[in-house]
Amino acid sequence: MKGIGALLVLGSAVWLGRALAKPLRRRVMLLEAWANCIGFLIPAIVWQQTPLPTALSDAARAYPILSKVLNSITQQLAERLIDVGTAFERALVEESALRPRDRQLLGDMAAKLGTSATSYQSDMLRTTEALVRQVAKEARGEDLKQARLVESLISLSGLALVILLL
C-alpha cells in the first residue's frame, strides 16, 4: 500500500509540474508557429495576391497549432462585419499561453494586414516575422528553462514528500 501511495504522490507531482510548465512550453511553440505562419503569408499575399481569408485558411491547415485561432479569424471575417484587427484581437483572447507583448506584436500586424499595396505588406510582414522570431528565440531560452525548472522543482517536492512519508 505504501508503495502504491508513494507512486501516486510522485505521479501527481510530475503531472502537476508538467501542467504548470505547459503554458510556458506552449508559448514557445505558438511563437515559433506564428513566425513560420507570417513567413507563409508573405508569398501568399505578395506574390500570389491571395485574398486574406483564403490565405489565413491555408495557413490554418499548414500550422495546426494555430488552426483554432486562424479559423476563428476567417469565420469572423466571413460574417463581413468587423475588420481584421478586431477579428485577431477577439481570436487571440482565447489563447491564454501568449503574453500581452506577444498579443501586441500580432495585433499591430493585424491592424495593417491587407490595408496597403504588396510592397508595404511585404515590408510590414517581414519586420513582424523578424520580431516574432526574436521573441520566440528569447522564449525558447527563458521559458523553456523556466518550464524545466518548474517541472523539476515540483517533481522533487513530490519525491521529498514521499521520502518523508516513508
Binding site: 499575399i45 495576391q49 485574398p51 486574406l52 463581413r80 468587423i82 481584421v84 491587407g114 490595408t115 499595396a117
Partner: protein
C-alpha cells in the same frame, strides 16, 4: 433579396433589408458619401437610406471599413483597380471609389482618404441581344462586328453580356477580354454570369494585350471587349479585325456627339466595323436609339 445588397456591413445591411420589395427590385445603386446620408438610386428616383426612421450617415471610418469588407480585407490585390477608381465585386457588381489621388513619379499610384463609394448592381438581362440582332438584320447589316456607343448607365455592359451569350449559344467561339471583371462577373475560381458554352474569359487582362493574346492563342470567332480606351486598344481591335476575327466592343458617347469623339472617328474611318449601334436610357437602359450602317456608305451617305 439579391445577395449583393448584403455586401455592406451593419447597420447599413439592416437598413437595406428593411426596404420594401418594390424599392429593392428597382434598386440600381447605393452611394455612400462621407458625412451625408446614404442614398439609394432606383431607375426613377433617389431615396435616403433610413434605419428605424433615422437617416443613415456614413463617416470616414465607416467608409474605410465598408471598403475593407468589400475587398475581402485584401486591398493589396486591388491596387490597380483602386488606382483606376473602381473595385469589381464577385458577380460583376462595380464599386466606384472616390478619394484623394496619391501621385508618384508623375503618375497616380492609388487613392487614399476615401470619401465616397458607389455600389452599382450588375444586371443580367436576357433578350436585348435578340432584339438588336433583328434590328440590324432588318437594316440589311449582315456582318457581326459592331461598336456599341452609349452614355454611362445606358446598358452597354449588359448588352455586351447578352450578345456574348447569344453568339456563344449559336456555336461561335467567343473570347471575352474582361479587364474589370464586369462582363463575366466571376467569383473566386467560378464562373459568374452565364456567357454560353463556347466562351472563354480573359479576366483582368488589359484590353490591348487580351485582344492580341486571344487572337494568337485561343482561336476565337469573335472577341468581345468593353469600353475601349487608349490608342493601344484601338490598334489591337484593328489587328484582330485584320486577322479575320469579329469584334464587338463599346465606347462612351452618344449619337448627338457622333464623330466628335476621336476614338469613334478613328474606328469609323478604319472601316472595320459593320455597324455602330447607339444605346440610350429611354424608355429604359439598352434601348437602341440609332444605328449607323457600315462606312463608307454611312451616315447621310457620305463616304468618310
Amino acid at each position: 433579396m439579391e445577395p449583393w445588397l448584403f455586401l455592406p456591413p451593419t447597420p447599413w445591411r439592416e437598413a437595406i433589408s428593411a426596404l420594401g420589395t418594390g424599392v429593392l427590385s428597382r434598386l440600381e445603386e447605393i452611394r455612400f458619401r462621407v458625412d451625408v446620408p446614404v442614398m439609394l438610386y432606383t431607375d426613377r428616383e433617389s431615396i435616403q437610406l433610413t434605419h428605424e426612421g433615422v437617416p443613415v450617415i456614413a463617416r470616414g471610418q465607416d467608409i474605410r471599413r465598408i471598403l475593407a469588407i468589400l475587398v475581402d480585407h485584401s486591398l493589396y490585390a486591388r491596387v490597380e483597380e483602386l488606382r483606376q477608381g473602381y473595385i469589381t465585386l464577385p458577380g460583376g457588381h462595380r464599386v466606384g471609389v472616390a478619394g484623394r489621388a496619391v501621385w508618384q513619379d508623375g503618375h497616380i499610384v492609388t487613392q487614399t482618404d476615401i470619401t465616397g463609394l458607389n455600389i452599382r448592381y450588375a444586371r443580367d438581362v436576357n433578350g436585348g441581344a435578340k432584339v438588336l440582332m433583328e434590328n440590324l438584320r432588318r437594316r440589311g447589316i449582315a456582318g457581326n462586328s459592331w461598336v456599341i456607343v452609349a452614355p454611362p448607365r445606358a446598358g452597354k455592359t449588359t448588352m455586351l453580356r447578352d450578345l456574348t451569350r447569344w453568339f456563344s449559344q449559336a456555336g461561335w467561339r467567343v473570347v471575352v477580354v474582361d479587364e474589370r471583371s464586369e462582363i463575366a462577373g466571376p467569383g473566386t475560381g467560378h464562373r459568374g454570369f452565364d456567357l454560353g458554352p463556347h466562351t472563354d474569359v480573359l479576366e483582368g487582362w488589359s484590353k490591348s494585350e487580351g485582344i492580341l493574346t486571344a487572337v494568337r492563342t485561343l482561336g476565337p470567332d469573335m472577341v468581345v471587349v468593353d469600353e475601349l480606351g487608349p490608342e493601344a486598344d484601338l490598334d489591337a481591335v484593328i489587328k484582330a479585325r485584320h486577322a479575320g476575327v469579329e469584334v464587338i466592343t463599346t465606347l462612351h458617347g452618344s449619337e448627338q456627339n457622333g464623330l466628335a469623339g476621336a476614338r469613334l472617328k478613328r474606328l469609323w474611318q478604319s472601316q472595320i466595323f459593320d455597324a455602330v449601334v447607339f444605346l440610350g436610357r429611354s424608355p429604359g437602359p439598352g434601348a437602341v436609339v440609332g444605328v449607323w450602317p457600315p462606312a463608307p456608305w454611312g451616315r447621310d451617305g457620305i463616304a468618310l
